[in-house]
Symmetry: C2
Subunit: 214 residues, 2 copies
């Protein structure tokens, strides 16, 4: 939307998306550093000048790819989660949605995992802020699940461990491998939910004591 507001028509936006997709695939295959604008223009079947009509630099293309992917992750999630009454189901929903979206946009997701840190600070800031918003929705669901027993700063740390698990799955997952993504998502979910359930039910494991310490 923001992009459209910058004076691009829908058709031009689609063109940007096509260039972004071609670039993301190259970043994944060759690495961000090794991918040149020339490579991108060849893959997108445009002249280098054609690319410059849409983007100012390789960083600009990466930013566009990541920004759109973050929008895909964030947009609507707040509302979707709000409509789920059970907090455990909210966490499950976020986890499965995270990995499902990954599966539809593997090069873009990998660009976020791997290439995003190559963005100069002023570009990265915008992405990091959307990441924060996204992580915040999981933190909220977790806080609700814990029922106020765990201090927020620890809930935040715990939400990062779940994203860490999911992202490790994304690195590890091979569509031709022996375990389908759905099953890997389930493994991730079961370990995490089994793992945090003891913090909720109020048993006095050493872990709980530590989590609840001031």
């Amino acid at each position: 939307m923001e992009i459209l507001a910058k004076g691009f028509s829908e058709k031009e936006f689609e063109k940007k998306c096509a260039i972004g997709r071609a670039a993301a695939r190259l970043f994944d295959e060759k690495g961000y550093l090794e991918t040149s604008l020339k490579d991108i223009s060849a893959a997108a079947k445009l002249s280098k000048g054609g690319i410059y009509h849409y983007f100012t630099s390789k960083h600009d293309i990466l930013y566009f790819v990541l920004d759109n992917y973050m929008d895909l992750l964030v947009q609507g999630l707040d509302q979707e989660v709000r409509e789920i009454p059970d907090p455990a189901m909210k966490i499950r929903y976020i986890l499965f949605r995270h990995l499902k979206l990954y599966n539809t946009k593997v090069p873009e997701a990998k660009a976020l995992l791997i290439a995003s840190r190559n963005l100069p600070a002023q570009f990265f800031k915008g992405i990091a802020s959307k990441e924060k918003e996204y992580a915040g929705l999981l933190t909220e669901a977790l806080a609700e699940y814990f029922g106020g027993t765990v201090p927020l700063v620890r809930v935040k740390a715990i939400s990062y461990t779940l994203f860490g698990m999911c992202n490790a799955i994304m690195y590890w997952y091979n569509p031709e491998g022996p375990i389908p993504l759905e099953e890997l998502s389930q493994i991730c979910h079961d370990i995490f939910m089994n793992g945090v359930s003891s913090y909720r039910t109020g048993n006095d494991s050493p872990g709980l004591t530590r989590l609840c310490a001031p």
Copy 2:
């Protein structure tokens, strides 16, 4: 050792380490892409020619940093883990050691997490092979812990989720933040061990069924 065999004296190796450390700090602060050999030579208080005496390129420096960090992670671990009789304690040992080493070499660990994917394939291969060896030790401990109930390919996936959690902690951790690394390690440990314990004790949760499916 390999480096020494390449004809570098211990003193020269130390010099390489000092350059590597200065470079890793810059990679962390400025990003790998944005760091030039000129920046590294200034930080290491050497001329650019001085750097070229020790390294052929920026990739070469990054490779050296990562290779040494991987050695630090891998070397001795096999023996250390072998001496721990209880498999749950083995897992605990690997996890705490992973995060403790991180804490002594933050720029190097961050280079592994963030910059390593910028290495050209022929460089990255050597690092990836050491990563595989390292992950294999956790997989072995987990397989022992599960007592043969979980197929190896699933144990592997589970070991990656644990590394994912640890690495998320490494991204998230701020030495000046409200939670010390020791406590974050404990949170990670408790969630993971609570999480996987049900796969060991043979309860018939849906998670277990799925993990044990052929």
